[in-house]
């Protein structure tokens, strides 16, 4: 289970003079739940966009699912799923329409799509919502559906950008259970979040601050190293010297 699915070497991303990602180096293994933590503006979203082929790095080597993300980003798209907080599903389409649409976009055969639709709706207990417009669904249900759609085509890796913002505690946990299930099925999950307690659900986490990775390990090891009880306290220990720079 130690096959590397993501490999990042000396990744740099600049926007003009501003260095959003400063020399990132890390690897992610198959079936891992890898947490990418950091404050807003630390560079998480920039990095995840590069990894999912949405933007190109300024320099460095980025390999995702065996594909060179720098030079052939378009080849990544079949191997990955992507879900971001702000938008994933079309608000004025129904649940079923969204699933079918994305199935088509991923190039799945129509027969397979129809089958998956049924399976998905049953698993999420959504069958009654089949023809509901997304805009009418509560946030928690939307997030769960968006995640299911992101892994509809069984990608090798799924990228989740702040997927649980503002969601109620019960739904948040159900969401993470879905993530667990997905990971144990062999799909690697790369998730960013600023909920520090969610860091604990990950196999390994990295903490970003001002464009750099300042910590990378299992949550347990980090807590031991900094001699604290929660990942949040680890974060505060690391970030504290930076307060005055703000």
């Amino acid at each position: 289970m130690n096959e590397t699915v993501i490999s990042v070497k000396n990744l740099v991303k600049k926007f003009g003079d501003f260095v959003a990602n400063d020399n990132l180096n890390f690897e992610v293994y198959k079936g891992e739940i890898f947490g990418f933590l950091g404050a807003n503006g630390a560079g998480k979203t920039t990095a995840i966009r590069i990894l999912s082929g949405l933007s190109s790095p300024t320099s460095g080597e980025v390999t995702v699912a065996g594909v060179d993300a720098f030079h052939r980003p378009e080849l990544i798209k079949k191997q990955i799923g992507y879900m971001c907080q702000k938008f994933s599903l079309y608000e004025d389409l129904t649940v079923k329409e969204n699933i079918i649409l994305y199935g088509g976009i991923y190039g799945m055969k129509i027969g397979v799509i129809r089958q998956r639709v049924g399976e998905l709706l049953e698993k999420l207990k959504f069958t009654e919502y089949e023809n509901r417009i997304i805009a009418d669904l509560p946030l928690g249900l939307r997030q769960k559906l968006a995640f299911s759609v992101a892994v509809l085509h069984n990608p090798k890796i799924v990228f989740l950008d702040e997927p649980t913002g503002g969601v109620d505690p019960v739904t948040r946990r159900q969401f993470w259970e879905m993530i667990y299930e997905t990971a144990s099925g062999g799909i690697t999950v790369f998730v960013t979040t600023h909920y520090m307690d969610e860091a604990e659900y990950c196999d390994r986490i990295s903490i970003m601050n001002e464009g750099r990775i300042v910590a990378l390990d299992t949550p347990g090891n980090l807590k031991k190293n900094y001699n604290v009880g929660t990942v949040e306290e680890v974060f505060i220990r690391i970030a504290r010297p930076e307060i005055n720079k703000n």
Binding site: D92, L93, I100, L101, G103, G104, I105
Partner: protein, 369 residues
């Protein structure tokens, strides 16, 4: 291919579920055809003319009949001397005055030549050209008819064309006042509607509402800077037109500026009104531009005279403020008239302004719902 079709299908769904897109797709073309079909005309109908007939003989009357029976013109009462011409044009009562000199028939038949003065209101150059050309066509045809029955050779009716107010028939006499009218209302309405909608969209409006600021203060606070800046804008445009186009201000400059201030105020308050019904900046821009631009250009008499349009457009045009300002600005700038000739239009604009402000204040929500 499947992906493509799936995507196309989604786009159809979006379109049919969004009412506004449907309006744009179907409503606007239909409206445009109707408007362009009827409002835009490159011919004239019902142009008012008056005759100043010093001869009053058989031939002049035949010419007059020919002109009227063509159907393009509308005869208003004859005048008796040259002094009355100015008044007719100032009041905008006629587009053209046709003057027959004394002893017209005799001069035409014995001397073979008689002059016909065609004096046209040049403050609307397009229409003036058309009207003049139509008149000339009729008189030329008449001359040719005469020539058929004559033994002494072709008699000539020599037309002398004079463009009142605009001797050189410069088109910017039409353009510049029209453009000023259009620009002022668009920019003023657009600016104020957007600035209020912006506060709503960005959420800062909530905080303003919870503050001691009264709605009147918020509205006036928004309007004042634009008022001052637009006024400076007007002065700039006037200076430019004078320098570049030689456009005169034949009437009172002070009156023109005062009327401009009124018009600006009206446009700003229209913008406020638009903002009270807009939830987002996009909506405000949409209503201000689409809702104001087309009617102003086509239905205010800016380019196409209102008298050429079916009666119903006349009613529609009556609620379009630019219609009144165009009359005011042309009268003052090109015809050089004073307040007496524009008081009606001024009054209408005042009423409209008061109405817009009043309704805006009432509609301005002191709460979020």
């Amino acid at each position: 291919m499947k992906r493509f079709l799936g995507f196309v299908n989604k786009e159809f769904l979006h379109i049919f579920r969004d009412f506004r897109t449907l309006i744009i797709l179907f409503g606007i073309p239909v409206a445009q055809i109707l408007i362009f079909g009827f409002a835009v005309s490159t011919e004239i109908k019902n142009a008012n003319i008056a005759f100043l007939d010093f001869s009053n003989d058989e031939i002049t009357r035949r010419i007059e009949d020919k002109i009227i029976s063509s159907g393009f013109f509308n005869r208003t009462s004859d005048i008796l001397n040259y002094n009355q011409i100015d008044g007719l044009f100032r009041k905008g009562k006629v587009r053209e005055v046709i003057v027959f000199e004394k002893d017209f028939s005799r001069k035409l038949l014995s001397e073979g030549k008689a002059t016909l003065d065609i004096i046209t209101d040049g403050s609307e150059p397009n229409t003036a050209t058309l009207v003049t050309n139509y008149t000339l066509a009729i008189t030329t045809a008449f001359t040719q008819d005469l020539a058929k029955g004559s033994l002494t050779g072709a008699p000539q009716i020599v037309p002398q064309v004079r463009m009142y107010y605009n001797p050189n028939l410069q088109s910017h006499f039409m353009f510049v006042p029209g453009v000023i009218t259009l620009i002022l209302i668009l920019i003023c309405a657009l600016m104020t509607s957007v600035t209020i909608a912006r506060e709503k969209e960005f959420g800062t409006m909530e905080v303003l509402l919870v503050s001691p600021l009264k709605p009147v203060q918020i509205i006036l606070g928004k309007v004042t800077p634009y008022f001052l800046l637009s006024f400076i804008n007007v002065i700039l445009i006037l200076i430019l037109s004078w320098l570049v186009f030689d456009l005169p201000v034949r009437g009172s400059l002070v009156l023109l500026l005062l009327e401009s201030m009124l018009y600006i105020l009206m446009s700003l308050s229209l913008g406020i009104l638009i903002s009270t019904v807009s939830k987002t900046m996009q909506q405000a821009i949409f209503i201000s531009l689409i809702g104001l631009m087309v009617p102003t250009i086509l239905l205010s008499g800016f380019i196409y005279p209102i008298e050429n349009m079916p009666k119903i457009y006349d009613f529609v045009s009556a609620i379009i403020p630019p219609r009144y300002f165009i009359i005011i600005i042309k009268n003052i700038m090109i015809k050089g008239t004073g307040f007496l000739y524009v008081w009606k239009q001024t009054a209408v604009l005042m009423v409209m302004t008061a109405l817009f402000i009043g309704v805006s204040i009432r509609k301005f929500k002191i709460r979020l719902q």
